[in-house]
Structure formats: structure tokens, C-alpha cells
């Protein structure tokens, strides 16, 4: 049975698992952004928090993904549903690039612009939303891009705990010693990652072009 043959005969399942995969990685990245960007902003405002926050996110990043899924399995509410657990773990992985890029993006805004803004009578809030975040947006989107691509990759492993996604084909193919089945999971996952990377890359370039106009 060729790869194409497998895809065509199982197209309904390929589609289902791809959608499931997108949901896992998408929701996880969204949560990572909702938590990570404000955290990144917070540590530019409260510098003494920057080391512990960045350090913790760094440590999380070093835990092997399979082990992280395993560790979380006994957790109360989380362990009950595999999808829930997978999204939580993936969101944890996505935190570091988002926190770090938000922090770096804001910290590298030209200080003379901040001083000009402050001298013009902008409040801290106005300075953040009108000057710092727009100028940091390219770097923040770069962090989002890393988080999303990472999430799509690691999500394949979520199938090991029964969370579904394209990893199911990979694990099934491994069990069956059938490369066609492995590829039926691996190739769509890779294409997904490439597509997201390209799209967010375009957005990043646009935003940087605006930020660089100095």
C-alpha cells in the first residue's frame, strides 16, 4: 500500500486528526499567548521578577515532552481528559518564547522614544499601548511563531497519552512497523508547521518593517 493510497482511503480520518491536531496546538498557543505576553510585560515593569519568571519558563522548556505528559497524568482535573492535559502541557512549552520575546521586544525599544513619550505627558498605560507594544510587536510575533511551530511538533507526542492528533498515525505506524502510516501523520504535521511558520513569518516581516522605520 503506497502513502497516497493510504491517505486517500483514510481521508476522513486524516482530516479528523488534522483538525484535532490544529485544535490542540492552536488552543495551547493561544493560552500561552494570553498568559505569556502579559507576563512578559509584567517583568519589564517589575524587573526583580524577570529572573525567576524567565528561569521557571526555561526550566519547563528543558523537561522532555513525554515526561511532562507523564508527570501531569496524576494531576486532579487535568489528568481526567487527555486533550485537556495535552493542551496544558503544550501551553507550558509555548510560554518561554512568548515571555522572553515580549520582554526583549519591549526592553529594546529606543529609550529616547520612551523619554519623549513620557515628557509629552503619556501615562504608563499610553506609553505601553501606543509606543512600546507597537514597536515590540514584530519581536512578539516572532515569539508566537516559535511557540506555534513548537506546539505543532510536540503535539504529535500527545497521541501517546491518547490526546489524538496526527501523532496517532505516527504511533500506529511505529507499532505496525509501517512507514506509510508514520508518514501519513508526519507529513501533514510538517506541512502544518511550515504553513503556520510562513504565515506568521509574513506578519512578523510586516510589523518589523513598521517598527524599523526610524
Amino acid at each position: 500500500m503506497t502513502f497516497w493510497h493510504f491517505i486517500v482511503t483514510n481521508r476522513a480520518q486524516v482530516l479528523d486528526l488534522t483538525v484535532e491536531h490544529i485544535m490542540l496546538a492552536g488552543v495551547a498557543t493561544l493560552i500561552a499567548a494570553i498568559v505569556g505576553i502579559p507576563l512578559g510585560i509584567l517583568i519589564t515593569r517589575v524587573p526583580r521578577l524577570s529572573k525567576p519568571v524567565l528561569g521557571s519558563a526555561n526550566v519547563i522548556q528543558t523537561i522532555p515532552s513525554l515526561a511532562l505528559f507523564g508527570f501531569l497524568l496524576p494531576a486532579p482535573w487535568l489528568g481526567e481528559r487527555a486533550g485537556r492535559l495535552a493542551i496544558f502541557a503544550l501551553a507550558l512549552y509555548g510560554l518561554l518564547p512568548l515571555i522572553r520575546n515580549t520582554y526583549t521586544g519591549i526592553r529594546t525599544v529606543d529609550p529616547t522614544l520612551l523619554e519623549a513619550g513620557r515628557a509629552m505627558g503619556l501615562t504608563d498605560r499610553q506609553l505601553l499601548f501606543q509606543v512600546e507594544l507597537p514597536l515590540a510587536s514584530g519581536v512578539i510575533i516572532a515569539g508566537l511563531r516559535i511557540a506555534a511551530v513548537l506546539s505543532i511538533g510536540v503535539a504529535t507526542i500527545a497521541a501517546a497519552i491518547g490526546a489524538g492528533g496526527l501523532g496517532e498515525f505516527i504511533f500506529r505506524g511505529l507499532a505496525m512497523v509501517n512507514n506509510q502510516v508514520i508518514l501519513a501523520g508526519a507529513i501533514p504535521a510538517a506541512l502544518l508547521a511550515l504553513a503556520v511558520d510562513t504565515l506568521l513569518g509574513l506578519l512578523e516581516r510586516r510589523l518589523n518593517a513598521v517598527g524599523m522605520r526610524s
Binding site: 529616547t112 522614544l113 523619554e115 519623549a116 513619550g117 513620557r118 515628557a119 509629552m120 505627558g121 503619556l122 501615562t123 499610553q126 501606543q130 509606543v131 507597537p134 514597536l135 513598521v210 517598527g211 524599523m212 522605520r213 526610524s214
Partner: protein, 256 residues
């Protein structure tokens, strides 16, 4: 903001000292600027000029003595309200690169909640005032020359018609020809504005040209507070050193 334009000096340093981490930066400065008057703060790098400006807009507070803006001590002002009443021009304009010229100029009026028509009218009026054509308004700062950016910087500072204007080495980054054009235009503009202006520079020629009075700072002390004529005739040794430095190219090199 009209309440700012009251009687008495617009800016008044009263025995104001400022220390930073225990290091004296400014030492018992007394100086006042009346509405309509331009006072040049002249001095070398590190003489305390920038700190003096920060005392005016409340970015720093005096360690002792007082700085009063329109009769009120800077620590008694709401800092945001204080700063919105002070136009601030820096080198290269300090324009926000991600905003068009129109957005840059209209930033404070928009924050202050002006309606769109009033904002547009004001932007057009200001562009004319600094001699820029209307079609720059949709461009970004990177698409303008240094001189044009500087003009936009002035327009932005004047947007909400503040009674006080601070020019912080505003023309310092411009080539000599553009610089001298800007100085002349500033003189014309000043006639029409009747604002209290603090003009910071280390260029004596510029100081003599634009100042009603020149306040010379040296190591945090106010050495002289003189009209340009008096300044040129002064026998004070530091003033003389300044005059000589600018008349003798070799001495300029020693001072640099």
C-alpha cells in the same frame, strides 16, 4: 491648559539643588523664565543641563529648594498634566517611527480627546507653521530628511498649544546649513508664539542668536545669567573661556 498661562514667571528655579545617588548634579540654581522669553541653558556635557530640564517637567524632583511652573511647585502638580503643558523638542525630533507624521503630531490632542475635525485643522495649521507641505502628513518619519523631522518635532511639541516649550539640543544633529535655517525659522516662530522657552545647547553661536538671556551652567552651578550683549562683554573667567573657545578654532578643539 489656558490656566497655565497665568501671570508671573512661567518657570522658576528657587535655590533648587538636585543630587543623584548622593552625587551633586545641580547646586542652588535660581533662574526664572517669563512668558514670551527665551532663556538658553548653555553648558558642556555633564554640566547639569539635562537634569535642569527634568526638574521642570517633573521627571525628577529637586532634592532641596523648589522648581515652580506657573507658580506651583512641580511636586504639587499632577505630573501628566504638568508635562502636557510643556512642549518638548529633542534631537532628530524623537518621532515615533511606527506612526505617520499626522499621528505623531496629533498624539497629545487625540489623547486629550479633541474631535477629529479640530485635530485635522490643527495638524494642517502646524504643518504650515513649520513650513511643511500637507502631503507629508501621511508619510512616516523615516521618509523625511533630518530637517523635516526636526520641523515635525516642533509641530508635535506645539500641538496642544502648551504655554512652555523646551528645546533640548533640538538642532544638535542637523548639518550646519539646515541648522542655521532652523534657527532663523525658530526666531520667526517665537515672535508669533509668546511662549516661555528653555533652549538647551552647547553651541555658543546658537545661544547668542536665539536667547533673550543666556544661563551658563558649569558643574551644576549657574555661572552667569546674562543677555547676549552682556554675555559677550562679561569679564567672568568661565564666560570668557567660552567666548574664546568659540572664536579660536584651536581652543574649540581643547574644549571638545
Amino acid at each position: 491648559m489656558t490656566d497655565l498661562a497665568s501671570r508671573g514667571p512661567a518657570i522658576e528655579f528657587d535655590q533648587a539643588s538636585f543630587r543623584l545617588n548622593g552625587r551633586p548634579i545641580l547646586n542652588e540654581i535660581s533662574l526664572s523664565v517669563q512668558p514670551g522669553e527665551t532663556v538658553v541653558l548653555l553648558g558642556r556635557s555633564g554640566s547639569g543641563k539635562t537634569s535642569a530640564l527634568k526638574l521642570i517637567n517633573g521627571l525628577q524632583l529637586p532634592t532641596s529648594g523648589e522648581v515652580r511652573v506657573n507658580g506651583r511647585r512641580t511636586q504639587d502638580w499632577d505630573p501628566i498634566e504638568l508635562r502636557r503643558g510643556i512642549g518638548y523638542v529633542i534631537q532628530e525630533g524623537g518621532l515615533f517611527p511606527h506612526y505617520t507624521i499626522e499621528r505623531n503630531i496629533s498624539l497629545v490632542p487625540r489623547i486629550e480627546g479633541w474631535d477629529e475635525k479640530r485635530v485635522q485643522d490643527r495638524v494642517r495649521e502646524l504643518l504650515a507653521m513649520v513650513r511643511l507641505s500637507d502631503d507629508v502628513s501621511s508619510r512616516y518619519p523615516s521618509e523625511l530628511s533630518g530637517g523635516q523631522r526636526q520641523r515635525v518635532g516642533i509641530a508635535r511639541a506645539l500641538a496642544a498649544d502648551p504655554p512652555i516649550l523646551i528645546m533640548d539640543e533640538a538642532f544638535g544633529a542637523l548639518d550646519p546649513i539646515t541648522r542655521s535655517e532652523m534657527q532663523k525659522e525658530f526666531l520667526e516662530l517665537r515672535q508669533r508664539m509668546r511662549k516661555a522657552v528653555i533652549f538647551v545647547t552647547h553651541d555658543l553661536r546658537e545661544a547668542l542668536l536665539v536667547g533673550d538671556r543666556i544661563a551658563l551652567l558649569e558643574e551644576g552651578r549657574l555661572i552667569a545669567n546674562l543677555t547676549p550683549g552682556e554675555f559677550e562683554d562679561s569679564q567672568n573667567s568661565i564666560v570668557r573661556a567660552y567666548m574664546e573657545a568659540f572664536s579660536d578654532p584651536a581652543a574649540v578643539r581643547r574644549w571638545a
